[in-house]
Every structure is written in C-alpha cells, then in structure tokens.
Chain length 96, copies 4
C-alpha cells in the first residue's frame, strides 16, 4: 500500500497557481479519493494500481485549464509489508 | 520567503526509518524552527538563507545515526512578492 | 510531449542498488523505449499517456526482485506547444 | 561524497526557461564546479559541505534575473563508504 505526493507546477501561468490546485482537489473529491492537501503537494493513499490509474485521470487537469507546460513531481512511498495510511508516519514519529 | 520540504531516505538501514525522522524532529525543535512533519517529508518555513543554514545543521543527522548512504529530496517553494507560511496555501485553496 | 525521470530507491536492500537499475534498463529495452540512464535516474521520452502506461509496466520491477519498500521519485516535464526529445534542452542551453 | 541534482523552475516567466539554466551553467563554470547539464536538471559532484555552500552561491541566480517565484527540486545521493563521481553509476549498470 502506498502514499503518492503530487505536485504540479504550471509554467508561464503567473506566480499564483491556487486555481490549478483547487481544480485537482475537486476532481479527487469527485473520485472519492482519500487525500490530504499539504503545503508542497497533494498526498493520496491507496494501492499503486489504483494510484497510477487515478494519476492518469487527474494529470490533464492543468492542461485543460490552459497550461501549455507543466513540471510535475511525484513521490511515492510504497511498502508491501503492511497497510499505510495518511498520517500514520506522523503519529509513529511523534510517539517516539 | 520560502517553504522547504526535506525528505531523507537512508538506504540499507531496514525498511522502517522512523527513528531517523524522529531525530531530525528533535533537532528542528532544538533550533526552534517552524515546521510541520508531513507524510512525505518535513516542511520548514523561513527565508532561504536561514533554511539553507538550517539544512546544513540537520543534514548530517542520519549519517551520525549510522547510515552510510542517504538519498535526500528537497523541494523549495520560494516567492519574493509576499510572506509565505505553513498552511497558507491549503487555506487559500480550500476557500475557492 | 514529455520527458519523465524515474528514480526508484529500494529501502532495506543494502547500499548498492545497481541490480535494480539494471533490471529496469532491461525492461525499458524490451519495451523499445527511448531513454537515457543518468546519474540521478532514468529519463524516458514520449507522450504522457505512453509514459504513464510504461510506468505501470516497469514500476513493479524492484518489488519482483524482492524489495519490500521502495521510495520512487518521478519528475515530468510536459509541454504541449512543441516536440520534446532527450538532449534537446542541453543543446539549447549550450548554444546560448 | 555526493551527487546533487538541481532543478529550478521559475513560475510566471514564460514557458521557456533556458536563459535561467544557461546563467546557472555560467556560474558553475566560474566556480570551477564539476557538473553535467542533464535533461531534468544539473548534476554536480563533491562533498556535501562543498555542495551546500555552492548551492547557496547559485540559488539566487533566477531571482537576480527577475523571477519572483521559483520552485526548486534538489536530489542528493550521498554515500560515505566510497568516492562517487558523475557517470560512475551509469558505467556500473551498463556493465551488468
């Protein structure tokens, strides 16, 4: 099970890109995804096959909103020895 | 003003690395840094000169704990037109 | 058209992970992908729909080789105003 | 010894940012740094204390050229068990 952090940076669209993030948020809600908006990206939980399929669905969002060039950063933490949920790691570290 | 997300992945130290994150957390607290632990890394706020100096201070942490090889990912969102604080972007997007 | 940089870091598998990179290379060759091995990852060129499908095919590689936890970093530079090929940007910058 | 990949993406400066990369290249040459321009960033070799100091010197480059907001991605592969040089990993993998 995995967590996937998605950060999409449209270039040439001005310095404020909150409208792009807001539209990704709406689409993730429509997909009933389990996710957190965070300061440096949106983190989504699920199995990798689900996450990659979801990525394919939302990836076009900024282009559909008019962006011509987008630099995307994705970080995936995927472990197969146990379930992984949003917030787990923070609880685990805080308890040490 | 900037936000810096720091993710350090020690290799060859087993699949659980919470002790490494916990030690970075302790050092950031000792430095009185303004930061959030998040699922995919630790996000710290401040001016870039402060953040790079702080990075230099905490970067050695996993090596001091015994790691021989560490892959580090850093993402910095630095804007000079206004102040940037942890959580601001999430509030901004949620209000749209 | 896009470039996608893929960096997969298996945790708990020792500090040397060249065998994992070599297997990804073999699979990309079998897929006849256009790619470069680089110091910090493998960069592949193509349209995004092709690249995401290819990612789905090779992503399981380190898990099939025994890794239990893998941290993956993906950077995509996708522009829709013109074709993008491996090496183009370096030529463009060097000529300035 | 470490390799550091630096990718700076100025926002709101148009979709072509080769002038920014070219200026970073000039400054790295002036510093006599050992580096490679690559498709997804510039990779520099050295000890981490040297690399972080160098980062401090070149980080302001796009802001000095007029950018107001820059998203920077840095990936560091730092191992303490042996020397690491640009191109080593590619040779090692190709020989397998």
């Amino acid at each position: 099970m995995a967590l996937l952090q998605l950060t999409m940076v449209p270039m040439g669209e001005g310095v404020s890109v909150g409208d792009y993030v807001a539209e990704i948020k709406r689409r993730l809600e429509a997909e009933k995804a389990v996710f957190h908006l965070q300061d440096m990206g949106t983190v989504i939980e699920g199995d990798i096959s689900y996450l990659l399929k979801l990525l394919g669905k939302i990836y076009e969002t900024p282009f559909e909103q008019g962006a011509v060039r987008v630099v995307t950063n994705i970080m995936i933490d995927d472990r197969r020895d146990r379930a992984v949920h949003l917030g787990d790691k923070i609880v685990s570290v805080t308890e040490r």
